[in-house]
């Protein structure tokens, strides 16, 4: 027993040294998560209990959720499969039950709405879903009717079992679109022959027999019952003809002639659902904001559902505080006399002192209050950079065209801006033209909005901290835009130059001041860019001419009959690499091939047969068009996820031969000596790099992948992998190293290389989001912070999750629980001990001298 105990102790010690996960008391300290549901398709107020606080929503992102009407928070949420398989076709509610038709009429589900549990689920007969309704009076609903293209079926509400199923008469010609029952023993199927007439079939509730079948008069204006008609008040079918602005009514029980009532219509397009009582309104506006209004004019809460569909984002440093900026401003201005300078300095020092005292006072004041009451409300006014630049502004661009500014520390939305001229099929590219480092010039972001169909683009220039549109008017772009690139050149106001290449291969610059144009002319011969036309498989390189026209300088053509270009990945421009090489076991150095212009081009075969399909990787220099390396992964297919950084490319693919996901890593080395150690030029690197490659088995499919990024690139790199399960895995890059030896030698041990193992294991402590599942991750964004050890991570998909990661642990930060008391008391004790011993030694020496 003793031995066992010791063994346990040892295990604990070992674990302590390796564990790198979040501890319980750190949960929510550096990270936050926001959950969204998406654009609402159906919603229902839970009205069966007077005091109910629930509203049920089913959304276009295949999410079924219950929201708190007081606060707008989620009670529960169910995320179904993406795509048409999980599509929610109908939402019906009765009492405690909510009935959903899912996947184009494939499944019928009943949910318990209090806790969100599944009551039952049944598989429906095949057929395209049209409509569903509850059958029964207000309180005695016992059945659900489901109408499909050719059949109508009735199910018990209690268990989902089918009561009867019947074919619809003349279903080839009549387009049945709606089903209705008033609860009097009849179920009506309403169909329409487009531009001709309405057909109504009445079934008996008991056995499904056809009681009546009526073909109604001429209704040429009607083609869609769901869109323009509804059944109101005990079986009166009401239809709207928007062309003649008329209202038609038809009593279903009597089947009298349809009566026409002309009226003026005012349709508020954004109104999604109105509660029957009229006191509570839930409104979805076209920017996907869900607003809950209790009494006229009183907004209870809003949910920014646009954030469930983030397309791209950037993180921008926060500005300095007013006082810091004051100090900075002093240096920016021109000197005007000694005296005024001294006065200025004194005044700014005074301001600083004042701010410091105010800060102390606040600290003292807060310390007296209990913890829970201290609120650190972040508002746009008190935004300022913290000591280590850990708090940043997240600028998020959503598919609906709404921009958000979110505080990265708390996740609160600080500004929002809706762009209302977004094309239907947009592509966005967000660029930071000027950071906050150039006070007094405001920071500046530019969003390029491109219509994918026409190629026409517009620019939106704004201040990323306040969200305000800049007073600088962007140039009009009459031609379709092929490529945009941010140059490291700056104009006199420190804004980086954005180059836009149109379909005539003409280049325009923004900003296009005289200064910029002059710089461009000087630099023209060293400005290269590439264009990719994936439909023709053409990669081409251009060089800028002094008159801002371009010349074609290289061309690589990949035949589209065999393969297609799937993605092209360059390196991130703000990436730093600290070490030029790797020290080998024998103390020699293997130099990395650090080509900043390298592009990783992913090709997938057009032939999808599992024996012949392949995934190709082309490494091309973006300046010279030189193919540095060309590899082909046979019997593999996409989707391929790629990360390209430093001197390595990591990609993930599906192996059709072994039916599993595999990772492959390519590393490029110059060799044992550098060609030119001072500067890298693509035009002068005649020797091809050495290429090393290794592959591994990965036990899960992945949704997205990104690499960590730190300020100076000293910290080791991790790969952040978004898994379909909602976890975000932080996989050390050292596991993906083509130099991992198959046979361990003294040298490889010296180098700390892990022996090769074909499988990469997923260790649970590598999940950076512990139990905070991030549903449907689509992208991961990483940004460096002011601390070298720390990388900021934002994962976005249906949810948004922000956290920090420390790939090499927090080597530059003292621990939270660092014992300042102990260290200072030890220091003090040592100090006194030396003083006393010195005194004693003196006395002793004196005594000896006397003797």
């Amino acid at each position: 027993a003793m031995a066992r105990l010791i063994w346990l102790c040892l295990k604990c010690i070992m674990l302590y040294s390796t564990v790198q996960a979040v501890f319980e008391d750190q949960v929510g300290k550096f990270d936050w998560r926001q959950q969204y549901v998406g654009k609402v398709r159906f919603s229902h107020f839970d009205s069966h209990v007077q005091s109910s606080k629930k509203v049920l929503v089913a959304t276009e992102n295949n999410v079924f959720a219950s929201l708190n009407t007081r606060t707008g928070e989620l009670f529960w949420r169910h995320v179904d499969k993406t795509g048409p398989e999980g599509n929610i076709d109908a939402l019906l509610q009765h009492g405690q039950d909510a009935v959903l038709v899912v996947g184009n009429g494939r499944l019928l589900r009943s949910w318990e709405i209090n806790i969100g549990g599944l009551n039952w689920e049944i598989v429906l007969d095949s057929g395209s879903f049209q409509s569903a309704c509850l059958v029964g009076q207000q309180d005695t609903v016992k059945h659900v009717a489901v109408l499909k293209k050719t059949i109508i079926s009735l199910h018990y509400l209690s268990n989902g079992h089918q009561k009867w199923i019947e074919n619809l008469p003349e279903s080839e010609t009549v387009d049945y679109q709606a089903v209705y029952s008033g609860g009097n023993g009849e179920v009506y199927a309403l169909g329409v022959v487009p531009h001709s007439h309405i057909a109504i079939v009445a079934y008996s509730l008991e056995d499904g027999e056809i009681i009546k079948q009526v073909i109604q008069m001429y209704t040429p204006w009607l083609s869609n019952i769901q869109a323009s008609c509804s059944v109101i008040d005990q079986g009166v079918l009401t239809c709207v003809d928007s062309a003649t602005v008329s209202l038609y009514m038809l009593d279903l029980h009597l089947q009298s002639q349809m009566t026409q009532i002309p009226l003026q219509l005012y349709v508020q397009a954004f109104l999604k659902k109105d509660d029957s009582v009229g006191y509570r309104v839930i409104v979805q506006t076209e920017d996907h904001t869900l607003t809950f209004i209790q009494q006229p004019g009183r907004v209870m809460w809003t949910r920014e559902e646009a954030l469930s569909d983030v397309v791209t984002m950037e993180m921008v440093d926060l500005p300095l505080t007013g006082t810091q900026a004051e100090l900075e401003g002093e240096f920016g201005k021109k000197a005007d006399g000694l005296m005024s300078m001294v006065l200025k300095r004194l005044s700014s020092q005074l301001i600083l002192l004042q701010a410091w005292i105010a800060h102390l006072w606040k600290l003292f004041y807060d310390a007296r209050k209990p913890r829970s009451q201290v609120k650190n409300d972040v508002t746009i006014e008190n935004l300022s950079r913290d000591e280590f630049n850990l708090q940043k502004m997240m600028v998020m661009v959503t598919a609906s065209g709404k921009l958000f500014g979110i505080d990265s520390k708390t996740g609160s939305i600080l500004w929002r801006h809706y762009l209302n001229n977004i094309p239907s099929n947009p592509a966005f590219k967000l660029m930071v033209q000027r950071t906050t480092a150039h006070f007094p010039h405001p920071p500046q972001c530019t969003l390029l909005i491109k219509d994918k169909d026409t190629g026409l683009a517009t620019l939106h220039v704004f201040n990323p901290i306040f969200g305000k549109k800049s007073h600088i008017s962007p140039p009009p772009l009459p031609q379709p835009i092929l490529q945009s690139l941010i140059l490291p050149l700056m104009d006199q106001d420190y804004a980086k130059v954005l180059l836009l290449v149109d379909d005539q291969y003409k280049v325009s610059a923004f900003p296009s001041t005289k200064n910029v144009l002059q710089q461009l002319q000087e630099m023209a011969s060293s400005i290269f860019f590439y264009l990719i036309d994936s439909s023709q498989g053409r990669l081409s390189g251009y060089r800028l001419r002094t008159d801002l026209s371009t010349e074609l300088i290289w061309e690589v053509v990949v035949p589209t009959e065999v393969q297609r270009i799937v993605s092209v990945k360059g390196k991130r421009p703000n990436e730093h690499v600290h070490s030029q090489g790797r020290v080998m076991g024998d103390r020699s150095v293997l130099y990395k091939y650090l080509n900043p212009n390298l592009l990783a081009v992913v090709l997938e075969s057009t032939d999808l047969h599992q024996e012949r399909s392949f995934v190709g990787i082309l490494l091309i220099d973006g300046v010279t068009g030189r193919i540095i390396h060309e590899a082909v992964q046979r019997k593999a297919r996409g989707p391929v996820h790629v990360v390209h950084s430093e001197n390595w490319v990591v990609y993930e693919y599906w192996s059709t031969k072994s039916r599993r996901n595999e990772f492959s890593v390519i590393e490029l080395y110059e060799g044992m000596e550098l060609y030119n150690s001072t500067v890298f030029s693509s035009l002068d690197r005649p020797h091809a790099p050495q290429v090393l490659q290794q592959s591994y088995i990965f036990p899960s499919s992945i949704s997205t992948m990104e690499a960590t990024l730190t300020e100076k690139g000293i910290t080791s790199r991790h790969l952040l992998i978004g898994l379909p399960s909602g976890g975000i895995l932080s996989l050390p890059k050292m596991f993906l190293d083509p130099r991992r030896p198959e046979i361990v030698t003294e040298q490889s041990r010296e180098e700390n290389l892990i022996p090769y193992a074909p499988e990469l294991l997923i260790r649970t402590e590598w999940f950076i989001n512990y139990n905070q599942t991030v549903s449907r991750v689509r992208g991961i964004y990483t940004a460096p912070s002011g601390l070298e050890s720390t990388c900021l991570v934002v994962a976005y998909g249906l949810d948004i999750y922000q956290t920090r990661v420390y790939p090499s642990k927090q080597f530059d930060v003292l621990k939270d629980d660092y014992d300042y008391m102990l260290i200072s008391s030890v220091l003090l004790a040592l100090f006194f001990a030396t003083m006393i011993s010195k005194r004693l030694a003196e006395v002793k020496l004196l005594n000896r001298a006397w003797r």
Partner: protein, 250 residues
């Protein structure tokens, strides 16, 4: 893994290169044919170059590439000397930092018939003209094919690659091209090495089975260390109340 193939190609191309230079010596004819079939099932395509002071590309024939399809495709080049006029022009272009461009037509190596081989368009690459001059026309041209044998790219570098502004005697150094030529097909990327790993595991377990000394349990071997550690732990534990596990931040 990637070593043997380029190495072989290098050997082959250097042999070819010697052949070429010999051929060039006795070949004074400027005229190099367009696409034509040669006797050893290879076929020839023109290699064109362009260097103009105003940088508007005007391609002229530099030589003929003889491509040989097959499992291991090979390539050879016959090219003529630079004329007096071209030499001065190249130096002029180098002086204004112009480009020296080359292009080859897109071809499909594995096709049997001539008509199927030729495809529309060209593959182009460039190098700075000054680098061409300063390297005394020593260039390395590589042709890249894709999996199925389509030519997808051409690249040219000079050795040495830098432009240092050194003067070049035109008569001697700018006459003959000193070209190293290669054709490269994509490298097969390795899959996960499961077989070798399993073999190694088996070997290790066998080794363990043979050596009974190794089979001694962990405790039998290190009992004294464990005991020492335990005593040390006890001493430290009694000396200091343990801090909460959660505070032990890594």
């Amino acid at each position: 893994m990637a070593r043997p193939l380029p190495f072989k190609i290098a050997v082959v191309s250097s042999v070819l290169f010697i052949v070429c230079t010999n051929f060039v010596c006795c070949n004074n004819g400027r005229k190099v044919g367009d696409v034509m079939d040669t006797e050893f099932s290879g076929f020839s395509v023109p290699l064109e170059h362009s260097f103009e002071v105003d940088d508007v590309a005007k391609f002229r024939v530099r030589g003929a590439l003889v491509l040989k399809a097959g499992r291991e495709p090979s390539v050879s080049l016959t090219q003529s000397q630079l004329s007096e006029e071209d030499r001065t022009k190249l130096k002029d272009v180098a002086a204004v930092d112009g480009l020296y461009r080359v292009r080859v037509p897109r071809v499909f190596l594995q096709a049997d018939r001539q008509t199927e081989r030729q495809m529309e368009g060209y593959l182009t690459a460039f190098v700075r003209a000054c680098a061409m001059v300063e390297s005394h026309l020593s260039d390395v041209i590589s042709l890249h094919t894709d999996v199925s044998g389509y030519l997808i790219g051409v690249s040219i570098v000079t050795l040495p690659g830098a432009c240092r502004g050194t003067e070049v005697e035109d008569e001697v150094d700018l006459e003959v091209f000193n070209t190293t030529l290669s054709i490269m097909a994509p490298v097969n990327a390795p899959g996960p090495e499961t077989a070798l790993f399993l073999e190694r595991m088996e070997m290790e377990s066998e080794k363990k089975g043979k050596n009974p000394q190794e089979q001694k349990s962990f405790f039998a071997k290190y009992w004294y260390l464990i005991l020492g550690g335990a005593i040390f732990l006890m001493v430290t534990n009694s000396a200091q109340p343990p801090a909460g596990g959660g505070r032990e931040q890594s």
